[in-house]
Symmetry: C2
Amino acid sequence: MSIRLTQTVQKGGCAAKVAAKELRKILGGVEFPPAPPELLIDGRHFDDASVHQLTPELALVSTLDFFTPIVDTPRLFGRIAATNALSDVYAMGGRPITALGILAFPIATLSNEVITEVMQGACDALKKAGATLSGGHSIDDDTLKFGLSVSGLVHPAKIWSNQGARPGDVLILTKGLGTGTLTAALKREAVTELEIKEAMDSMTSLNNAIDWLEPLGLTSAIHAATDLTGFGLLGHAMQLGRASGIDLEFRFSQIPILSGALEMIKQGFLTKAHRTNREYVDDSVDWIGSPLSDEARLLLFDPQTSGGLLLAVAPESADAVVNALPFARPIGRVNERALTHQTRIQITQ
Amino acid sequence: MSIRLTQTVQKGGCAAKVAAKELRKILGGVEFPPAPPELLIDGRHFDDASVHQLTPELALVSTLDFFTPIVDTPRLFGRIAATNALSDVYAMGGRPITALGILAFPIATLSNEVITEVMQGACDALKKAGATLSGGHSIDDDTLKFGLSVSGLVHPAKIWSNQGARPGDVLILTKGLGTGTLTAALKREAVTELEIKEAMDSMTSLNNAIDWLEPLGLTSAIHAATDLTGFGLLGHAMQLGRASGIDLEFRFSQIPILSGALEMIKQGFLTKAHRTNREYVDDSVDWIGSPLSDEARLLLFDPQTSGGLLLAVAPESADAVVNALPFARPIGRVNERALTHQTRIQITQ
């Protein structure tokens, strides 16, 4: 199995996601079916998943995500893709129950063994999450793509969403930044999978904060949550800020960075999403204090694949949440809006 | 908007589905996560969707389907793709509640208006079905692909599945055959969309048999159900036969055929799936009586996109079901197995 999956595609992972601006234009003209009152969370606020109430105590969390290979090892690719898809359910405070596979691949040129391995990687992640693979759909296509549509459950009164962040909340991030540039470097053979193992481990870590926080009675301390994917830290932060009607402030020195990420940005391993994410958010950002290097700024626009959760946490519980979650770090805080109709993001050193 | 969508892809619709045999090989090597008792229907019997019990009275139906354009008009494509995806929920006796869009398209070359129209077509179908579009995922890709991941609900005691067909049941089909060859002919400009409008109307008709049967108290007369997609009538019939442990018998003269379908097969408008479906099923079929023409046989292997429901119905209720459902026709019956471990399908004239 000597195929290098990243060499079979032009762009990989969440970097291939359609830019938010583009998406807005496309969907702006669509007349959607009426949303029933049971639809508690829809796509309006760029939440990670939709939530539909089924009974007074049960709501369905639905999400899907798929992409082209960002790593070379098939099983690793499947595991990352599944971890990434599952993350959207966790980001809503839910727990995944079932998943459907989304698979496209060139039947004629890609061996069955590769696909079996991709599926096995996905099953590895699902097993860790306590969820099952219950079906899926596969088509013949020019390039390999894989992902999952995941269903999860959440109590309707315990949903985490993009809305709900309050001034004073501490912003906590659960994974380091840099998967976009590191996987771009991998694709261009500047690094090996082994050399960026920290990023690999990060992308295969479940965002199951709920499993750590619930036993400690800390779930209600989470006022808002999102997971970081294609739009990068600042893109997703802006969406959370807009949905919650607040401003955000990040301290760059506190933001965790995956080893080698700044160096790879400096060496020019960028994706189209670095540019589109910057265009999407730049007008909303105030860079405070002595100027950050351009690679530092670009890191904040770096498209994440299977990135961490960004949590807005009640200040009195912030330390407890940081201690409860592996790797979590406080990286900023929520402020009252300075301007009435706009979210501003301050970056300090 | 003069783009002809079918000219942007190599193969379209459910004909691009990975063949069943291939899929078995790929999945045979995968170690799946353990399935909990709540997972009432998984992928084992080639059911159309998975079913996961949530409460004693509520089960979640999950399915997803997506494909490349099989028609030229963007809105029509979106509507067919959505109708096709919704069908899997109906085939389980469920009703759809929410759907997530699955969208891949070449951002650089396909205009936003085309995508807006595709999405609108999907929303048209969802509205008719009483379901909502609650989110989705879109990526930059070489060719347009669209579909939905659909969640629906069903009472755990009222699930229709591939299992449950009983000897003596009447086999009822709710749409005519031939979308595979007709859309192949459309792609190769042998016919226009207008000339095959019957097929277009068929592919945009919801398989919401449940909405017609429930008010008449006929839902329990359905012992087994599946919808016809990429594997064709005989492929899906065989899967139902295997899952139910029965034989099947079809009378060719009673099978509804879309106008022009036999002629298009005769003219050679075939897809790869015609061949793979035949390979998949041919050994299980007994052709009885005077020989059918080759085009007639190929029609039974024709890959359907958004095809009809194949229902195994209690004989005493068969007439009532046929009368209740628009277009439904009795096309055969269920027999006891002649061989212990094998499903046989008899085709008579």
